[in-house]
Subunit: 321 residues, 2 copies
């Protein structure tokens, strides 16, 4: 059985190659550029971990992991266009380095390439994997749409926000684990528990992501600091601050949300801090993490096999980037 | 055995329904809007015809036909963004009626929905169908990229152009037929001949499309007349005109290509006519059509079964829209 770190290295070794033909270079070079930027590649490793929880690593899990990473990069390329983000992982986004039309088409070939990787697996698993992959892919798009919708709405509830980030972030983490488990031969209940583990970890991860976007170090985080605040994104932090702020803080926050002033980020962060958002976020993250571990506990395999998943959860929850 | 017209009606009846869940409406309503505009739906009917050439119509061919139509609409939504086209089939394009971000995401969920339709077919066919679908999907993206690249290049050869339109248009027509044939149980050689029939028909179809874009009636054609000329697209017509024009005509053409004057379309069309482009295009179309029919001839089934495909080819080649 391999550790999280070993599986991660194994995946990266196989994935750091060309993913497209050489021609037309105007289409495929920008695709290779973006894939080479790297990233944490957590989702594909989750797929390998899901396989390994139940069985020795199977080649098909590596194909599915590749498909997941291609799909994830497809969403990043298109999301960056929608969010008008110029940086991703500290490097120029595809539409910034090239142009919008190129980025549009690069995203499109990435998702098609993802399905080409899926097509490599044993036919006996294919229908089940394809079903879960498709459902998840569509949910991720729904999540992105809700994210954009909520940015334009005045009142978004915490429940709506959790629904949105579940779709946008958690379901892919959860499905990555479950697809690996399917290949590992897991039964239905074990698959369900593992999916729920991934879903809850995903929400905890997003709380942390929102936190880092606001309070993280831009140089380490690889994104512009305060990007969410600049775009008036409803995040865990903003929704909580709006809920607990006193009259004066709330008025100030609402004026800041209407503005595009240079010190907007700085002033919003000061109110967040005054509202105790930091501790609150830490506690909420811990709650989801605990629920996640309860689902992991309920999976009927020897506890020694669960070690790499616990390692991964701890790695994710203590990352600074 | 059903005629082309009957298969077309049968497909439309099944396809004219909702293709997405109701929520989030901000994502799925624009998708339904575009699918309801209609269009000729030639590609899915080609899939049914491919099935029927070898066997009674199977439900799986209808699923694959649905996937093909969803994929085709995905390409249209994104191509319209890249081409900055405001009209499609005489109606507002998605990015015009809604906005760019919506259109981007609508295209994305359409291709995912296409794969959800593919996932419904019998597992025994799935790997073969998925392989051909994926390969074709990626080739269509390559074709769109080359189309954009060629618009910026001064010298494009007729061979390069035919390669581009083969990818952008023909391979999907060809693969639609072949996917139907696979479901109909056709052998490898019959599949190949049918694919080549579709590929050649596709080139003939594109010659006609270029022709209609230049000389067609915008009200019937459903697109802005002269759109290709305005965008300096290298079409069959322009490439031939540049090849046969006399010194004076060529100079005038090159000046016109540099300009964005109001009478650009009118003046370019006058040169096309003076260069005999109309007759030339008619003859080239006839040549490809003849080659297509030779491949159809070579398919080892009773000739009576080929009748609907001949009907279809004639319908396509005499259409005014």
């Amino acid at each position: 059985m391999l550790s999280f770190q070993e599986l991660s290295e194994q995946f990266n070794k196989g994935f750091d190659k060309s993913h497209f033909p050489s021609s037309p270079a105007t289409l495929y070079e920008p695709g290779e550029y973006f894939l080479k930027i790297g990233g944490k590649r957590i989702r594909p490793v989750l797929c390998l971990l899901g396989n390994e929880l139940f069985n020795d690593l199977h080649e098909d899990a590596i194909h599915v992991a590749g498909a997941i990473e291609l799909f994830h990069n497809f969403t990043l390329v298109h999301d960056d266009m929608m969010d008008e983000a110029s940086l991703r992982r500290g490097k120029a986004t595809v539409h910034t380095k090239y142009d919008y039309n190129t980025a549009l088409l690069v995203g499109d070939v990435m998702i098609i390439r993802a399905y080409e990787y899926l097509q490599k697996i044993q036919p006996s698993y294919l229908p089940k994997i394809l079903q879960l992959f498709n459902q998840t892919a569509r949910e991720v798009c729904e999540g992105q749409q809700l994210d954009m919708d909520y940015a334009k709405m005045d009142n978004v509830t915490m429940d709506q926000y959790i629904h949105m980030i579940t779709l946008k972030t958690s379901v892919l983490l959860a499905a990555s684990l479950e697809m690996g488990a399917i290949i590992g031969g897991a039964g239905e209940n074990n698959c369900k528990q593992l999916y729920e583990f991934g879903r809850k970890i995903g929400i905890a991860f997003q709380i942390q992501d929102d936190y880092l976007d606001a309070f993280g170090d831009a140089a380490i985080f690889g994104k512009e600091a305060g990007g969410d605040i600049k775009q008036n994104k409803k995040t865990f932090l903003l929704l909580h601050a709006l809920a607990v702020a006193n009259k004066d803080q709330k008025e100030k926050l609402e004026i800041l949300l209407e503005s595009n002033s240079e010190d907007k980020v700085e002033k919003v962060l000061a109110i967040f801090t005054a509202c105790g958002v930091k501790d609150w976020a830490e506690n909420l993250k811990a709650k989801y993490l605990q629920e996640a571990f309860e689902h992991l506990e309920a999976i009927a395999v020897m506890s020694a096999r669960k070690k790499p998943l616990i390692e991964l959860a701890n790695y994710l929850m203590n990352r600074a980037q």
